[in-house]
Amino acid sequence: MTTMNRPPVPSEPSVRSVLWVADAVVSYGADPPALRRAQLKVVAGETVAVLGANGSGKSTLIRVALGLVPLVSGSVTLFGTPLRRFRDWKKIGYVPQRIGAASGVPATVREVVAAGRLVRQGLFRPASEVDRDAVDAAIAAVGLTELARDPVATLSGGQQQRTLIARALAGEPEMLVLDEPTVGVDVASQQNFTDTLRRFVRGGGTVVVVTHELGPLESLVNRAVVLHHGEVVHDGAVPVAGQATPTSDQVHPHARRDQGWLPPHGEVVRSRQA
């Protein structure tokens, strides 16, 4: 991975993207479509926030990008390869909303994080020294070394979230995709999490984060994509950037729409960041 400066936001389709969702349409049964020709293009080194209220389709958009939700129409390209033929999953670190099976059989922090290393370890190959070190380093990166042998179910919400981030980091990805990483997370964990992401971005990593409130992440994000009713209604500068707002007043599309900064429904504004 090169340590070049952050590349400009793509304005031409010719710019090579690491994640490109084009004209995505997703429908769950008889409900109105969850996504209506939604677009998302991310180039290497960017930190993009996908914002929107509950039910806006923001989570669906990244789940489409990862192949977890089938498309009715449209296309997904990852690192220049169509999703159907994409096999290089070690380049992607996925942080889902919450830990799976938290109250099933207990699992230690280390066991969960080690699952993130399997993508590099190879099928049915025992973990090497390098693999074990990578798992330890990922746990250390999120500040959970002391708790590595504790069952994840006994940790706080913030610590569980950090466990999931460590799991994604253990595979040494080029791009992190995070789904609502700050929901129910205490302030200390949010700060730890922001620091972890900042180090990742400084190392040349790409970040796509889905959230309904940016919080401390705001300082990291250099582009925001806002969804409303399954459509992209804003793609450009972070809506609150530069505005003098109280810190408790987080980015919240509904609130913002009431205050008038969001464009009318359906209108796609492309006010690119300079």
């Binding site: 996925y94 059989v105 207990p106 699952a115 504790d150």
Partner: protein, 284 residues
């Protein structure tokens, strides 16, 4: 131990110990996936396999392995595609399996009901040396898969979506687990019977997860408990002249209750000492 002077008892004991070791090794994944009852369903389906064995005068264990594996793979595919309501699909398969089994055994008129009962409730004491070889060989396969592929099976059972994004062969791993569960059910059916197979897969795990802190520890503890229950259960069943399968399962349940009570008491004690509630889940 003078009991071991009896060949049949020695075979019964060895068979029970192997089953006690193997069943929880598969069960731990089923419990983790919250599919604790799936072993029961596979057992129902296996009964049709047993009946086909009777009817065609081939080895009932062999036909049971095949039919149970086909059933387990069908369940897994139904679950994976998510087309049908999983609950209804499972119910149909289970009842079809047991009804089909009883029907086919009825057609094989030269077989008595006693034979059917030996598969429903197990007949550990009639375990022959040939049976032991089959049980042992199949158990080795099950243990190689469940212990050898633990990190991969764990990843898939713990968070299937994550495993998919991590590029793991999720479908293949799920099918492997399904077939392994089917093989385990058929192996254990000789010992504890089809109706109690699931108990031996689940009860030791339920007990172990109360005391263990991690997945590997839960797995190891439950396998140890399974062996212990099997050994003590066979001994008790001989002493009291009761069915070994039932003795093993009742013993397991008794230990579960005892551990649950002790765990609740110590946790309450700890909580009152620290003065704060220990966060258990992420639920908002």
């Amino acid at each position: 131990m003078t009991l071991l002077a009896y060949d049949f008892l020695r075979n019964a004991l060895i068979g029970a110990l192997i089953i006690g070791l193997t069943a929880p090794a598969v069960g731990v994944y089923l419990v983790q996936r919250r599919m604790s009852l799936i072993g029961d369903g596979i057992g129902h389906i296996a009964l049709t396999g047993v009946a086909i064995g009777f009817l065609t005068k081939t080895s009932p264990v062999l036909t049971a392995v095949i039919v149970a594996a086909v059933g387990a793979v069908s369940i897994e595919l139904l679950r994976g595609y998510g087309r049908l309501s999983g609950d209804i699909a499972l119910a149909l398969l289970f009842y079809g399996g047991i009804a089909g089994g009883v029907l086919l055994i009825g057609l094989a008129s030269d077989r008595s009901n006693a034979n059917l009962l030996s598969y429903l409730f197990g007949s550990l004491l009639t375990t022959s040396t040939e049976d032991l070889i089959v049980i042992g060989a199949l158990s080795v396969v099950v243990l190689v898969v469940t212990v050898g592929a633990r990190p991969w099976l764990f990843a898939v059972c713990q968070d299937e979506e994550y495993a998919r994004v991590a590029g793991l062969p999720v479908r293949a791993l799920n099918l492997t687990l399904a077939v392994t569960a089917a093989v385990t059910v058929t192996v254990a059916m000789r010992g504890v019977g089809l109706l109690l197979v699931s108990a031996l897969m689940v009860v030791p795990v339920a007990t172990a997860q109360q005391v263990a802190r991690g997945f590997a520890a839960t797995m190891a503890t439950s396998m140890g408990l399974g062996v212990g229950y099997a050994g003590v259960g066979v001994y008790v069943s001989f002493r009291l002249d009761v069915a070994p399968g039932a003795a093993i399962v009742v013993l397991g349940l008794a230990v579960f209750v005892a551990v649950a009570v002790v765990a609740a008491v110590t946790q309450g004690w700890r909580r009152s000492r620290i003065g704060v509630a220990i966060p258990k889940t992420l639920d908002e």
